[in-house]
């Protein structure tokens, strides 16, 4: 996803000279392609994320469209107040690329996991948050949002090449419906969508009919779309590689209450401060209950309990 995103950025940068790229010394072997084509529009600011966002804010004030790049947690947390007071506070077109969503950097350890970025950043109501589910949606999301007047945060996965969203379509504040079902509606985002799609297959074999809605933006959050697609489904199950309360689970709960949905809600994701030990993404998804098997088990459990 990351490489495709940068490739699309290069295409856009050919068309619009206002685009510049800043990195806090990350993106080795990824960003050189941009640097080599646009050496005068590429700046490695060093390991200094606060200054990176501050500089980008100043550049945007002078009419440029700066993209800043780092691993998600470094991009979102260290410079949070710079984002708040700068691009969010001034409504400036700074774009923050946070790579390695969730536990993409699993073996790198907790310092490199990004489990709270959406929750932290969606407090900044003027900041659009884009969470693509696959590389094609990452590309189309960038094409549709790069020239928005306000700031954007892109939550970008690292290496997965799966195609999940039909034609990779993206509309800010809308959902993508990947499947329709009677019993359960899954609502998911980012790379958890792939696990959900696989879980739906497992559940289908058990005669459980599941729908899938992929959420790819916060601020605006697709409240209306979600309530509409929930229809008369009995269960809504949110799945995310993020803290549930402040992420997708929390946002969907709010949408359900405000939309008078009668469905019940199960939220899968990070629910405890007791995080698993480091390991591969596959291992960590299993540990965190986000593998397709674990998701399917959780759904069987709630339905069985309901019947029992």
């Amino acid at each position: 996803m990351r490489d495709s995103f940068i490739k699309t950025l290069i295409d856009l940068a050919h068309k619009d000279k206002r685009i510049v790229l800043l990195t806090a010394d990350l993106g080795y072997t990824v960003l050189e392609s941009f640097r080599d084509v646009f050496p005068g529009r590429f700046f490695n600011v060093g390991v200094a994320e606060q200054n990176m966002v501050g500089v980008a804010t100043g550049m945007a004030m002078q009419g440029l469209i700066p993209f800043v790049y780092s691993i998600g947690n470094f991009a979102a947390f260290r410079p949070f107040e710079f984002i708040r007071n700068g691009p969010a506070g001034h409504g400036l077109p700074v774009r923050i690329i946070g790579v390695g969503a969730g536990v993409d950097y699993g073996t790198a350890g907790k310092s490199h996991w990004t489990l709270e970025d959406v929750g932290v950043l969606r407090n900044l109501l003027g900041l659009h948050i884009v969470v693509p589910a696959d590389l094609f949606q990452a590309q189309s999301a960038l094409k549709k949002t790069w020239d928005l007047p306000g700031p954007v945060y892109y939550r970008i996965g690292k290496g997965d090449k799966s195609a999940l969203i039909p034609e990779g379509s993206f509309d800010l504040g809308r959902i993508n419906v990947l499947a329709r079902g009677e019993d359960v509606l899954f609502v998911s985002m980012g790379s958890a969508v792939k696990e959900v799609v696989n879980a739906v297959e497992l559940l289908r074999k058990d005669g459980i009919s599941c729908g899938v809605a992929a959420v790819s933006s916060f601020n605006p959050f697709p409240n209306a779309d979600l309530v509409r697609v929930m229809g008369k489904v009995r269960w809504v199950v949110t799945v995310e590689d993020h803290v549930v309360n402040t992420g997708l689970g929390g946002a969907v709960a709010q949408a359900m209450v405000c939309g008078l949905s009668k469905a019940r809600l199960l939220s899968l994701g990070v629910t405890s401060a007791d995080l698993p030990k480091s390991g591969s993404k596959k291992y960590l998804y299993e540990q965190m209950g986000l593998s397709s098997n674990k998701i399917a088990s959780a759904v069987r459990q709630i339905l069985n309990r309901e019947r029992g």
Binding site: G46, N51, V53, T57, M59, M61, Q62, H90
Partner: protein
Amino acid sequence: MKDLAYQIRRIILEQSFRAGVGHIGSALSIADILASVYGDVLRARSPRDKERDVFILSKGHAALALYAALYCRGWLSKKNLGTYCGDGTCLGVHPEHGLPGIECSTGSLGQGLSMGVGMALALKMKRSKARVFIVISDAEYNEGSLWEAAMFAAHHQLSNICVIADNNGQQAFGYTRDVLNVAPVENIWKAFGWGVYSVDGHDRLAITRTIRKSLKVKNSPHVIIANTQLGYGVSYMQRQIKWHYWPMSDKEYGLALEDIKKVGLKKSHGIGRA
């Protein structure tokens, strides 16, 4: 018009007294610096002039001095100035963008330099001749982000930046040397690759001369260490930490207005605009 630094001081006193708010000492500290910047060196036909020089008040808590300078420059109406700290005003204790002449909102220390550096870099890319002037406080040396920006500006040889450091030696809890001692700060700026100049921060002529001299050097950003006093111009406020926050009583206001007349007559005459 009478001496610009005097006018700025008078407005600071009038407005802070009327509004019953503090930060008077911090604003008085930079009155001569702003008289130099807005009276002598800042090139801008209007706040919307596309080729304008940029001014950022990184020490946002002294915004009243900036409002006074904008008023004297003719960019802020008397009516608007009179709304300072009122309900629904654009003129709060810290400056906010949207008011013509305020390039960016500040108030969180340690952020103004980064934004200014970004603007300077963009101006350089555009081959603009505009310069970026940034007034920082010496308390901002406590903020690590300031030094991130300082390194970046020097690395990119952003000679279109001129920082004026309001070196009044005091911050909220007392003397900067007692809070977090970084003196001699000139050496630190030099080590970071900046061109460093020291000046009497209450001598407008000297400040102006030093800024102009610094901007002729083209291989580094510039910092003018302006040695100032908190509350300068009002005898009972000078170097008194209470005037970082305190508002004035009726009696204190009367004394202050008399005091600044004496300073106003002593300083800075006869400098033309750039």
